[in-house]
């Protein structure tokens, strides 16, 4: 098992770089798991726009307005400086900023319309339209009550309005499915896994192979009484052991992060899918390792392949947001099918079929086999015996 041991000795020289990728991965995963995640269910839950409200008015009317709007949006606390508001808007920490200027209540009740609400929003966005609608609706109701019922107090009007708002249109969800709670964090964890595992395995497999593929070392190995089959098997075994270890470590962490609300079947599927993808990375690493000449080129290839595939396949950016063309291009990469499977698994219902998911996994395994074959072809092409 000399070669096998050698492989791990070489890897241990690159612990630093490998642990950087692992820690970026684990760090981001941890962060996302701790962040609250969106969920969807069988009842209609209105979308809540993230909104920041700054109230400079002391009137009761403004308070009622805020209470009303807060209930229908997701209020976010940010500090009231231009910079922090601008930042928050840019990064969508809030999508709508409402400022109630001093004297608004009074001006509104007097109907002179001198003091207006001030808003800032992501321009032309649906959330802007939504919050505008909510605000205008409330103000319209208020203006009706104050306009038609003389001497009505703010409190009285607010009570009427709240009463009115208790009635709602009856909303039904078609084919109301019993959606399993979408676990945003878990699916993020497994999405991001594709990036880090690709980077880590490509890096380690190609590094190990490059050391063994060094022409002189290769000649020395070939000249030794070690059988070629055994040599290759030991390399394969080394890669396999490492890859499975990375997979097991990642899944273990995933399980720890997800200790509550687990669904055994979904976890099994996610892990199986991740294992398939791990094999894809191994195959790709095998191919790239044969096609590449220097250590520096490895870093280049690792970065371009892992980051590139992840971006076009919807690892970092939700898949729905990608263009049609890019999705079509991405479907020629294994990452696309991995992401596809992760998305299907995390929206899996108790009685829906897993056929699509298995299909995606099979496609991934197909990619793994194809990369392996390509790698073998390149290896044969540039084997010593073929040298002129």
């Amino acid at each position: 098992m000399q070669v096998f041991k050698l492989y791990f000795r070489i890897l241990s020289k690159h612990t630093a770089v490998i642990s950087v990728y692992l820690s970026i991965f684990f760090g981001l995963s941890l962060m996302f798991t701790l962040l609250p995640s969106a969920s969807s269910a069988s009842v209609f839950i209105p979308e809540k726009t993230r909104i920041a409200v700054f109230n400079e008015d002391e009137g009761a009317f403004a308070k009622a307005l805020i209470a009303h709007i807060s209930e229908r949006t997701a209020p976010v606390q940010i500090s009231d400086t231009k910079e922090s508001i601008e930042d928050a808007l840019f990064f969508r920490d809030v999508e709508y900023i409402l400022r109630i200027p001093r004297g608004f209540s009074e001006s509104f009740l007097k109907k002179d319309n001198k003091v207006q609400l001030e808003k800032s929003a992501v321009p032309l966005s649906a959330s802007e339209v939504h919050v505008d609608f909510l605000l205008n609706r409330y103000l319209r109701f208020a203006s009706i009550y104050h306009g038609l019922l003389a001497d009505i107090s703010s409190e009285q009007a607010a009570a009427y309005i709240e009463e009115d708002f208790k009635v709602e249109a009856k909303t039904t969800i078609l084919d109301s499915m019993l959606l399993v709670e979408k676990s945003g964090s878990r699916s993020f964890f497994f999405l991001y896994y594709s990036y880090s595992v690709m980077a880590i395995i490509l890096l380690s497999v190609t590094t190990g192979m490059l050391a063994l593929e060094n022409r002189n070392i290769k000649m020395r190995n070939l000249a030794s009484p070690l059988r070629t089959v055994s040599l290759n098997l030991q390399v394969v075994l080394g890669n396999l052991v490492f890859a499975v270890a990375v997979w097991a470590l990642s899944c273990g962490l995933g399980l720890i992060l997800e200790k509550g609300g687990m669904n055994g079947r979904i976890n099994m599927l996610l892990m199986a899918n991740a294992l398939c993808y791990t094999f894809v990375c191994l195959g790709l690493g095998f191919f790239v390792g044969h096609a590449i000449k220097s250590q520096n080129a490895i870093h280049g290839a690792v970065n371009v392949v892992s980051l590139g595939m992840s971006f076009i396949s919807g690892v970092f950016v939700p898949k729905e947001l990608l263009g049609e063309t890019i999705k079509r291009i991405a479907s020629f990469t294994p990452t696309y099918w991995y992401v596809e499977a992760v998305n299907s698994i995390s929206t899996l219902t108790n009685n829906s079929s897993t056929l699509d998911i298995l299909n995606s996994m099979l496609i991934q395994l197909g990619f793994a086999a194809a990369f392996l074959a390509l790698g073998l072809a390149v290896a044969r092409h540039k084997s010593l015996a073929n040298e002129a």
Binding site: V129, L174, G308
Partner: protein
């Protein structure tokens, strides 16, 4: 003499394909991939008129109130809906196939029914509209019960479209989050200038390369030698970054804002920071070149991740909750400088970033100078 050193160094850099790939071509390749991936991203949250199936039943035909409410919500430049009149079965089919956000129908008793397939912002707006209709009906009833004579003014009040809200514009440009991916990518390209920095140092430190030992034997002041190497590296890195920006702006269409001069200036500062960082790594570590490259790549992966390369909000979160971390991360500073140029009207934040970056350059250069000044070595 400077010109001699500089021009030959330039030739060496331009022949060094591998380093050039890293510092110039690789970011452009990634930028192209980003461009492909995000071509659709901006339009996603833009509001487009919501297609709604409206069930054309008896109640609909008889309810003028509903019709006029729908009409006012579906006309004008602020129209919310794009209604399609159809039968109940057709409406269900349209909802099913997803060509409308939902269907809305009014019942004989004035109750409103909404059918959707999923919940999203469009459905939420549709529901708010439906709610608002039934709620207005109830408000009308309430008023009619309390003060019957006022009820006739209801319609005119309803038609009153007083503007209660005025908009205050924030930011100089559209808050387009996806530019952060590109700005972070520029910061990565800047950091990859480190390769040139490392090479510049190793080609004058006698204990790092044979060529450097030979150069040290020439009657040339070492700092002049180093200055020439560094200048060549800076020039190449600056041009690489500039090319990246040109590619982003004119091929991909990334918006940078109108301050052309400052954009180029930022590019120069960022490139300098990268080269100096590399010089620092090169001067402080005596290990093999491969290890240095490994360190630079790892470092730049971490720093650019924190600057939002994979997930732009990470930059925001860090800036909000751990501001110190974003001030000591040169990649975040470069990203933030471009962000501030693009999005802020004022230049205060921009200059804070640039100031810190210049500070970093100065500190790096100072340390490098301290190491370089040493002209004799304990071992070679």
């Amino acid at each position: 003499m400077f010109w001699h050193l500089f021009s030959y160094r330039l030739r060496c850099i331009l022949r060094d394909k591998q380093t050039l790939f890293w510092s110039a071509a690789f970011p452009i390749v990634l930028a192209a991939l980003f461009g492909l991936a995000f071509s659709n991203l901006d339009s996603n949250e833009l509001f487009t008129q919501i297609p709604v199936a409206v069930v054309d039943n008896d109640a609909y035909r008889q309810s003028n109130a509903f019709k006029s409410a729908l009409y006012s919500a579906a006309s004008g430049k602020d129209a919310l809906f794009n209604p399609i009149l159809c039968t109940k079965d057709e409406a269900v089919a349209l909802v099913e196939e997803g060509s409308v956000a939902g269907s809305i129908s009014i019942g004989a008793d004035g109750e409103v029914n909404i059918l959707v397939k999923e919940t999203g912002i469009s459905q939420t707006i549709l529901k708010a509209f439906g709610d608002s209709f039934v709620q207005l009906s109830r408000a009308f009833k309430t008023i009619a019960e309390t003060e019957a004579q006022a009820a006739h003014k209801f319609a005119s009040l309803l038609a009153n479209e007083a503007a209660y809200i005025k908009e205050t514009k924030l930011g100089a440009e559209y808050p387009n989050k996806s530019v952060i991916y590109f700005f972070a990518l520029i910061s990565m390209a800047c950091l990859y200038g480190s390769f040139h920095g490392v090479n510049a140092v190793s080609s004058v430190q006698a204990n790092q390369s044979h060529v450097a030992a030979r150069c040290n034997m020439a009657p040339v002041h070492k700092l002049l030698l180093f200055g020439a190497q560094l200048s060549a590296a800076l020039l190449v890195q600056f041009i690489s970054c500039l090319l990246l920006i040109v590619f982003m702006k004119f091929v991909i269409g990334v918006q940078f804002g109108p301050r052309l001069f400052l954009i180029i200036f930022t590019c120069a500062i960022g490139a300098s920071m990268g080269v100096m960082l590399g010089a620092l790594v090169g001067a402080l570590l005596k290990q093999r070149l491969n290890l240095k490259i490994g360190i630079i790549i790892s470092l730049s992966m971490v720093l650019t991740s924190l600057a939002g390369l994979q997930y732009p909000n990470l930059k925001y979160i860090i800036h909000k909750s751990l501001p110190l971390l974003s001030y000591v991360n040169p990649a975040a500073l470069v990203t933030d400088a471009f962000y501030a140029l693009y999005y802020y009207e004022g230049l205060e934040r921009y200059f804070i970033n640039i100031g810190l970056l210049l500070g970093f350059c100065a500190v790096f250069l100072f340390v490098v100078y301290g190491v370089m000044r040493r002209q004799k070595y304990a071992s070679l």
